[in-house]
C-alpha cells in the first residue's frame, strides 16, 4: 500500500488526541517530544505502521527521533523501501 502522509496523520489524530484536545497536529508537529505520543504508546504506532505498510521496523530504527513527526516517519519508511 502506498504511504500517504494524510493516512498517518489521521491515525495519529484519531488515536492519540483526546476528544477535547484541540491542539493542531500537522506533518511536522513534534509527536514524541511534544508529548502527543508517549514512549509507551510508540509501540502501538509502530505496530500500526508495520501492519499498514507490511514492513518490519527493527527496534534500533524505531527511535523517538524517527517517530517524532509524520515527516520523520515518512522518511523512515522510505529508508526502509516503503514508498
Amino acid at each position: 500500500m502506498a504511504v500517504t502522509k494524510d493516512t498517518i496523520l489521521e491515525y495519529v489524530r484519531n488515536e492519540y488526541l483526546e476528544d477535547g484536545d484541540d491542539r493542531e497536529v500537522t506533518y511536522n508537529t513534534p509527536l514524541i517530544s511534544g508529548g502527543i505520543v508517549d514512549s509507551f504508546s510508540m509501540v502501538s504506532l509502530k505496530v500500526f505502521l508495520e501492519t499498514k505498510y507490511n514492513v518490519s521496523i527493527p527496534d534500533a530504527k524505531a527511535t523517538p527521533e524517527a517517530f517524532d513527526s509524520v515527516d520523520n516517519i515518512i522518511a523512515l519508511l522510505k529508508e526502509m523501501g516503503v514508498e
Binding site: 502527543i36 509507551f40 504508546s41 502501538s44 505496530v47 501492519t51
Partner: protein
C-alpha cells in the same frame, strides 16, 4: 562539576546518632503541634526570609516559561485553597488532581492540603476506566483538571454522583462549561493574601496515592501530614538539597516520587526546582538541564537507560557542568547504567529504594558513601531494615541469602492504611515487620541487592501495574476469551507488559487485532498498562481449580525455572 560538603557528613556516623527528632527540630515542630504540609512548603519558607526566592521554574513543551517565587507559591496556594473552600469542599474531602505537569498541579496539591482536604493526584494519562476505578474507591468530591482531559471525566460522570465539582484550570471560555464544572485561572483569580490553613495535626490525612497490586483493584495508600518529617530530612540527606541548588525531579506528581520529592521534600527545604512537561528525548532533557543550570537531578532508570542508548556524545554537546549530584528511583538501577553515568556526567547516579507505601526513601546510596554499582545501598539512618526468610518471616542473619525486604514500621511517613481496605493493609505486616513485597539479599558490607518482586506486580519504567486490572480490561474486548498478563524483560524499561490472549471462536489471530487490542487497553487504562507485546495462544496454563498460573508464563519470558507444575491442569 562543582563540589561542596554534603548535608550528611558521614553515613556511618549518622547511623549512630540519627533520630527523627533532628528533622522535627529543624522544622521547629514538636509532637502535638499543628503540622500542615501546605503551610510548611510555602508560608514557612516566606517567614524564613525567602519570599522572593524562586520556588518553581516551569517550561512547557512549546517553550513557554513561567517563574514563581515562594511568595507566589504562598499566594496561589492560598487562592486555590480559598476557591475550593468557597465552592464547598470540606476538610477530609478527596480532591483529585488530574493534570499534566503544569504549575496548577503543583500548587493545587498544596492548596488542597492547606484546606485540610485529601490530595489525590492521578497520572493524567489514565483513561476513563482507570480514573473511574480510583475516584469511585475514594468517592472523590472534586477534581481539578484541564480542558483536554475533561472528556475523560465527562465520560464517567453519571457513575459518580458524589463528584460535585470539576474545576477546569485552563478554561478559555470558548466552549460552555457544563453542570458541576467550574473555571479557575490562577493567573487572573484575585490573590488571597491570608488563608487560615486547616490546623492539621500529625495524623490528619494528607495524600491518597493509588498503587497497584497483584490481585484486585488499585489501592489508595493513605498518608498523613506527619510524613513531612521523613520527606524533609531524606530530601536533605539523600538528595543533598542545599540552599542554592536548582533541583530537577523528572517524576510526575501522579506518582509518589512526584509528590514526596517533587513537591514536599524540595519545597519544605526551601529549594528552587525546575519542571517541564516536554516529551523525552536526550537532547530535550540535556538542553533543559543546561538552560536551568540544574545541580541536583532525580530521575528514573528507564530514562537513564534511554539516555545511555544515545551515548556520551549526546551529553558532550551540552554544558552540564552545573550538575553536582544525581539520584535515581522507581526500579533498580543496573550496574551498567551507574558506571555509564560516571563516564557521561563525571559522577554516578545514586540509586534510591522506596515505595508508595513508605512515603519516603528507605534504602539508598548516599553522597560521600561508596557506591557499589547495581546495589540499592544501605538503609536510611533511623530505618531498621532486614530481609525476612520467605517461609518463616524471620530475619535472615546469613549474608547473601535472598529474602523479603522488611522494615520496622516506625518511620514517620509510613502509610496509615489503604482507603477502604484495612484488611489488605493489615496483611502488609507480619511478626512486627512491614513487608515490602520486594526481595533482596544483604552482602558482607551491609549493602542491599535487589532480586525482584515477590508477587505478580509488573514494574514498568518504575511504575507498578497490576496484572488483574489489565486482564479485566482485556476481557472487555469482544475478541478476548481469556488473558494473562506478565512482565517481560526489557533493556530500557526493565519490564514491559506482555499479554497472552486466547480468542473467542470466530476471531482470527492477526496483527490488526493485536493493534486493536493494544489501543483498546491504552485508551481504557493508560499507555503504561498497554501490552507492549501480545501473544495469541490456544489456551492458558491453569491449575486444576481453574486459576491462571501467571508465574509459569513469566518464568518462560525470563528464562527461569518454571518451578512446581504439579497443579498444572494442561501441558505447556
Amino acid at each position: 562539576m562543582p563540589s561542596k560538603p554534603s548535608n550528611m557528613k558521614s553515613y556511618e556516623e549518622e547511623v549512630k546518632t540519627f533520630s527523627w527528632d533532628i528533622s522535627k527540630k529543624e522544622l521547629e515542630y514538636k509532637d502535638g503541634d499543628i503540622i500542615n504540609i501546605g503551610w510548611y512548603c510555602s508560608d514557612r519558607i516566606c517567614e524564613k526570609g525567602k519570599a522572593e526566592k524562586l520556588a518553581l521554574i516551569w517550561e512547557s513543551s512549546k517553550g513557554e516559561e513561567k517563574r514563581y517565587t515562594f511568595n507566589d507559591l504562598r499566594l496561589i496556594t492560598n487562592t486555590m485553597a480559598s476557591y475550593l473552600k468557597n465552592l464547598g469542599v470540606n476538610q477530609g474531602d478527596r480532591v483529585c488532581l488530574f493534570m499534566d505537569k503544569i504549575p496548577e498541579l503543583y500548587m493545587g496539591f498544596l492548596g488542597v492540603l492547606k484546606l485540610g482536604a485529601i490530595a489525590q493526584p492521578l497520572f493524567s494519562a489514565f483513561g476513563s476506566e482507570s480514573l473511574l476505578t480510583r475516584l469511585e474507591d475514594a468517592t472523590t468530591t472534586a477534581i481539578m483538571t484541564q480542558k483536554k482531559h475533561l472528556p475523560k471525566v465527562r465520560n464517567i460522570l453519571e457513575k459518580m454522583p458524589y463528584l460535585k465539582y470539576i474545576i477546569v484550570v485552563d478554561d478559555d471560555g470558548s466552549k460552555a462549561l457544563r453542570e458541576r464544572e467550574f473555571a479557575l485561572n490562577i493567573e487572573t483569580e484575585p490573590k488571597v493574601e491570608k488563608f487560615d490553613c486547616f490546623p492539621s495535626t500529625a495524623e490528619t490525612k494528607s495524600v491518597l496515592h493509588y498503587t497497584s497490586g497483584t490481585t484486585g483493584k488499585p489501592k489508595g495508600a493513605q498518608h498523613v501530614h506527619y510524613s513531612l518529617i521523613s520527606q524533609y530530612i531524606t530530601a536533605k540527606y539523600v538528595l543533598d538539597l542545599q540552599e542554592d541548588d536548582v533541583y530537577w525531579c523528572t517524576a510526575d506528581p501522579g506518582w509518589v516520587t512526584g509528590t514526596s520529592y517533587g513537591i514536599i521534600g524540595v519545597w519544605a527545604n526551601g529549594v528552587t526546582q525546575c519542571v517541564t512537561d516536554i516529551g523525552f528525548t536526550a537532547d530535550n532533557w540535556y538542553k533543559f538541564a543546561e538552560k536551568n543550570k540544574v545541580t541536583v537531578w532525580y530521575s528514573a532508570p528507564t530514562a537513564i537507560r534511554s539516555l545511555m542508548k544515545e551515548g556520551t556524545a549526546a551529553v558532550k554537546k551540552h554544558d552540564l557542568s552545573s550538575l553536582r549530584h544525581l539520584a535515581s528511583v522507581g526500579e533498580p538501577l543496573n550496574a551498567e547504567a551507574v558506571i555509564w553515568s560516571q563516564e557521561a556526567f563525571g559522577m554516578m547516579f545514586h540509586d534510591t529504594f522506596w515505595q508508595t507505601e513508605t512515603g519516603s526513601i528507605m534504602v539508598s546510596n548516599y553522597p560521600g558513601m561508596k557506591i557499589k554499582p547495581g546495589s540499592m545501598g544501605k538503609p536510611f539512618p533511623g530505618i531498621t531494615a532486614t530481609v525476612l526468610d520467605l517461609k518463616t518471616s524471620e530475619p535472615i542473619t546469613k549474608k547473601g541469602i535472598v529474602g523479603m525486604i522488611a522494615f520496622q514500621p516506625n518511620w514517620p511517613s509510613i502509610i496509615r492504611t489503604y482507603w477502604n481496605n484495612e484488611e489488605i493493609y493489615k496483611n502488609k505486616f507480619k511478626n512486627g515487620w512491614y513487608l515490602s513485597g520486594d526481595r533482596a539479599s544483604i552482602d558482607e558490607d551491609g549493602y542491599y541487592w535487589f532480586v525482584g518482586r515477590d508477587d505478580d506486580v509488573i514494574n514498568t519504567a518504575g511504575h507498578l501495574v497490576g496484572p488483574f486490572e489489565i486482564e479485566s480490561a482485556l476481557l472487555e474486548h469482544p475478541a478476548v476469551a481469556e488473558s494473562a498478563v506478565v512482565g517481560k524483560p526489557d533493556p530500557v524499561n526493565m519490564e514491559v507488559v506482555k499479554a497472552f490472549i486466547a480468542l473467542k471462536p470466530g476471531y482470527d489471530q492477526n496483527k490488526m487485532l493485536e493493534l486493536e487490542i493494544m489501543n483498546f487497553v491504552r485508551k481504557k487504562l493508560s499507555a503504561l498498562a498497554m501490552p507492549q507485546e501480545i501473544e495469541f495462544v490456544d489456551s492458558l496454563p491453569k491449575t486444576r481449580s481453574g486459576k491462571i498460573m501467571r508465574r509459569v508464563l513469566r518464568a518462560k519470558e525470563w528464562g527461569e525455572e518454571i518451578g512446581d507444575i504439579s497443579t498444572l491442569e494442561n501441558d505447556m
